[in-house]
Every structure is written in C-alpha cells, then in structure tokens.
Amino acid sequence: MKERVRLMNYQQYLLPVLLLPLACFLLLGLFGKKHLKNASGVIGTASMFAVTIISVLVAGRYFFADGKVDGVYQHLIAYKYNWLAFSPTLSIDMGAIVDPISMMMIVVVSFISLMVHIFSLGYMKGEERFTTYYAYLSLFTFSMLGLVLSSNIFQMYIFWELVGVSSFLLIGFYYNKPSAVVASKKAFMVTRFADFGFLIGILVLSFYGGTLDFNALIQRLTAPQSGEFVSITTASFLGISMLTWGLCLVFVGGAGKSAMFPLHIWLPDAMEGPTPVSALIHAATMVVAGVYLVARLFPVFAIDVPALQIVTWVGAISALVAAIIACTQTDIKRVLAYSTMSQIGYMMFALGISRYGGENGLGYTASLFHLFTHAFFKSLLFLGAGVIIHFVHSNDLKDMGGLRKLMPVTHIAFLVACLAIAGVPPFAGFFSKEEILTASFHSNKIIYAIALFTAVLTAFYMFRLYFSIFWRKEATVHGTHNADGTASMKIPLIVLMICSVGAGLVPITKMVTSDGVPLETHMDVLFSLVPIVLVLFAIFFAARMYKKENGSAGKMAVAFGSFYKAATKKFYVDEIYLFITRKVIFNLIGRPAAWIDRNIIDAFVNGVAATTARISGLIKGLQSGKVQTYALYFFSGIAGLAVLFIYLWK
C-alpha cells in the first residue's frame, strides 16, 4: 500500500516534467509566430525552469528519501500506459522508469537545457526564427526527457528518433546556409543508419525475451535458468550467439548517437547549428544517449563478455582517435566536438571494462559519474565558445587571440572548464576521470595506457585552445566593452562554472551503481599522482607552444609529418564514407535500380504495348474502308460457313 502511494506521487511529478516542454513546443510551434513573437523565449525558459525545479525535487526525493529499500536503489515504474500492442506479449508501453540513472539524467538534461534556454535569450536575440528556435529546443528537451525516462525499449527507440529529428532541425536551423543543410542531413542519415542496427537489435532481443519492457527484459535475459535466456544463448548465427548479436546491434544504435568511431563523422559537422544547441545536444545530453542506452541494458551486457569487449574497444579507439584529431583542428567548435567524442569514448570504455555488482561495477559508476560532470564543463565550454564566436564572428582560431582582457567572465569560465576537462584537482573532471582510470587499471592495462594517453592529449589540446583564444597575441578585434554578452549570457556561464568546480563533490558513487548498492570508493593518492603530473606537464607544454606565437607549433606539425596531415584530415574517414555512399551505393545500386526500372521493367511494359500496336499494324490493312471489300469478306465468310455446315458438319 505504501508502495502504491509512492508510485502515484512520482507519476504526479514526472508527467509534468514531460508534458510541460511538449506543451511549450506545441504552443510556440503552432501559435508562436503570430502571437508570441517576443514572449516565446521567456515562455520557453519559464517552463524549463519549472521542469528543472520539479526534476531536482523528484531526483532528490528518490536519492535521499525513498529510493532505497534495504540499502538498495530500486527500479520503480512511475506509470505505464499501453500505447501500441503488437501482440499479447509484445507491446509498446509509455511509461516512466524511476531508478538512479534516469533520475540523474533528468536532472542533467533539464538543468543544462535551462542554462541553454537562458543563454539563448541573449545569444539568439534578434534572430528571425527566434520562436521556432525555442519551439525546437522544447521539442528536444521533451524528447530527451522521454528518452531517459523510458521504461520500454521501444519507447526509448521512439524518443531516440525524436531527439534525432530535433537535432536535425536544430543543426539545420540556418536553413539558408548550404553547409548547415548538408550537416543536418548527414547527422540524420548517419544516426538513422545506426538506428537501423538498434531496430534489428530490438527485434532480436524482444523476440527471444518475449517482452519489450526493460525491467522484464533484463530480468529474463540475466536469469541463467529462464527459458528466454537459454533460447537466446543457444540460438546462434554465424557462430555468434543471438544475445551477442542483439546487444551488439543495439550498441550500433548507441554508437551512432554517441558518435563513436567509425560512426562519428556527423558530430563535427553538426557544429553548423547555433552554438547553444551544440552545447545542449551535441555536448551534454543527446550524444550521451548511447552511453545511457548501454547503461540501461548493462545487466544484460554484463553477462555477455564479447559484447562488452566490443563496447570497450570501440570506446577506447574513439577516445584516442578523437583526441588526436582534436589536437590538429583549427575550428574552435570542431575541437570541442572531437573532445566530446573523446570524452564519450571514455565513458563508453569505462562501461565496457565494468562488470555487474560491487567493486567490479566501478567502471559503470565511473562512466556515469563522468557523464554527469562532463555535461557541466562541456556545455560550459560550448557556451563560452558561443560568447567568443558571437563577439569575433568567426569560428577559426586564427581570428582569435588575446581575448582575456576583453571578456573576463568568459575567460575565467573557459579556464575553469578547461581545467575541469583536463582533470586537474579539485575540478569536477578530476574525480570522474580518476575513477575511470582506477577502474581500467584494475581490469585491462592496455586500456589503462590508452586512457592515460588520451587524458594527456586532452589536457594538451584543451590548453592549446585556451591559450590560442585568450593569449597568444594582442587582441585584433577591438569591439565594444560588452564582449561578455548580455546578462542572460553571463549568468549561465557563472552557474555552470560553479557546477564545473563542484560537480565532482556530488556523491554519484554512492547513488549510481550497477546493482543499486552504494559503492565505497577510496582515493589512492599515489595512483592519482601519475595522471596529475602528466596532465600538468601537458598543460605546461601547451603553454610553451601556444602562449606566445613562437613557431614551435609549426615545428611540431612538421615533425609529425604525414601523421599530422592525416589527423588534420580526420584520418580520411569522411572521404571513405563519401566514396562508399557516392561511388558505391549511388553508382552501383541507386543508378542501376533507376535504370533497370526505366529500361527493363518499364520497357517490358511498353514493349507489350508496342508489340500489340505492331500486330495491329499488320492486320489493320484488312479494314480498308472500301465497302465492296467488306462485302467480299462477308460473302466469302458466308460461303465458308455454308461449306462447313453442309459438308463438314456431319
């Protein structure tokens, strides 16, 4: 009875969390343009504010008041409505799951979204499609909250697609710009391709699991005695069990959304969207959906080691490759995009090396901890970059330099964020990275090496960015004294700055664990000394190279030779994709299909018609128009019939 009361309360809170942004989207989308032109930003922000408050309250209540039963965090279902029944057992239910990760995520999503809403009030001011922008933001927030609250794998797929489309709409927000259009299409198509894997994965898992419900699915597929588990592990295709297939296919979807190598190509291009959007969607929330997905199905992943290994290696390679590329890019947003990809790779392999329960589950906790802290400092970096771009009117590093005096607030905020992402104590990133390193050290030394190297590279390229923007040379642009932007732009920066310092102190390890049991972590000073020293060294190195223009960066580039060039060109992954799509698919499948249709199938139809016409051409001469000829046919016919009837019809 007590249980029921508690659930009803969650429903009461979580429904508004979802419905407020949706209502806001409908209101602004349908009536905004005519009637709410100027108020739309305020409406959107106000509703987001309410959502954030509720989310924080709900999450606080879950974590600190009634989420635990006997010291274990529970998976509760706040509500569940049957939405579409495929068959008696398989149905899409619209529900809300209440568990540590979903609660953590709604806080992150609504909070970052609120910050972006506020920031955009200043940043997007005067845009022609201001209302539409806020409508799209609301749509995205609704979809993302729906995604993290999903209690049903198909429900998640639905919101998964919806965040994809809101991302598409926002990347292509400047629809007049051909590059933005191309980028938005690319983002949608690549993630769609990944979603195809996700869909097949859902089909596989649901067929053997006999359900689409997350809780039931996890329960059945992790119980070694259950019939579902036996059937999915014994069934195999190409020698690989269906469980591994299903999980890997689901992971393909996650990898696409989270821009994992080699499906990452859309993320750098997605920076064509307005910068606050990049902060919200392509840094803090949507791109971590893949991590969230794996975390959501983690108990199942944990019993299937091959699938986890794929997750590990994809994550590790992405982290490393992205970090290398980030060192060579000159577009400020692209550097941040690759750094996002690198950090998500971090979270991914942290999940991959983790196992279920207890100390072994440290990787899981660390991954989500990193997700949590990363959201703050990465969105801060993007918003800071937004202020800079707003001021300089360029994305390119060479147009910047010496901005520290012109924009003090942004400068400090950016510095804090850089320290946080580099993992310098006591900033937020240090704590989460530290745990990932610990977890990887205990499970796989190669991964540990990659992680460490990536961390060093991260520090290097972030400070390369920092010094290039704020130091290097005297400011070439002498704008107004208001370089930091309006108050609505400063406030989010300051709030996020505080979070970037403080987020590491949030006891995520006690709240978000693989099995719901709080985890006791202890800091090993000696162990953490190694990364700190390396990171500081990298920062020092970056300062030497980029604080003043001294040509050492150029020398470095020459020293690395063709490797440097390949990294600048993003290792030619885009070119490979272009080759496959343009040359192979278009020319070998698309064009032939269109050609066959016109020249073989349709030609056959036309051929039938032409043959009929030709035959009729042969015999039409019989109808000459001459009455006497007709009469002749007639009489010969009669005569023929007469002969037939009289002599032959006996």
Partner: protein
C-alpha cells in the same frame, strides 16, 4: 394445274442472286450497288415464297418473312439513299471508292 418444278424457281432466284452480287462487286456507283442489294433481297424473297408454297403449303411463315423483308428493304433504301445524298453533298461524288474515310 401444271406446276413449275421447284428447281426452276430456285434456278431463277440463284441467277438473280448472283446478278445482284456481280452488280454489288463491280459497280462503283452507290445507287447501282443499292439496286444490286435489292436484287439479292428479292432473290431471297423468291426463295422464301417458293419453299413456302412447295414444302409447307399449310403454313405462311415464308410469306410472312417475305413481307417483312420487303418492309425492311424499303426502310433500308430510304436510309441508304439518305446517306448517299449526304455523301454527295460533302464529297460531290457517289463513287464508293471516294468514300473510304471509315477505316482504321
């Protein structure tokens, strides 16, 4: 009453039929062709009457049909001549070879 054998009458009607056919095929003048058609019809009429008289004298079907055909022939002549007149108005000719528009 001395009777003419049936074969004689049939001979006449056959001759008449082929004369009509010959006219129908060789003449190009539509009026003449129409007349030839009338000849053919009349040869049929003769046959009907003759068969009725010689084979089923107690019945009147043949005669009945003959009268029917005469009526039809009259109507037909009227229609045909109307067509011919119209053709003449448009084509200035009643030569059947000039009226061959009605083909494929």
């Amino acid at each position: 009453m001395s009777t003419v054998p049936l074969t004689h009458i049939l001979f006449v009607s056959t001759a008449l039929f082929f004369i009509g056919m010959y006219g129908l095929f060789t003449r190009r003048n539509m009026i003449t062709m129409l007349m030839s058609v009338e000849l053919i019809l009349n040869s049929v009429n003769i046959n009907f009457v003759a068969f009725n008289k010689y084979l089923y004298p107690q019945k009147a079907d043949g005669i009945f049909f003959t009268i029917f055909i005469i009526t039809i022939a009259a109507a037909e002549a009227a229609v045909a001549i109307a067509i011919i007149i119209n053709l003449y108005r448009t084509h200035k000719s009643i030569d059947v070879d000039d009226a061959t528009e009605l083909k494929w």
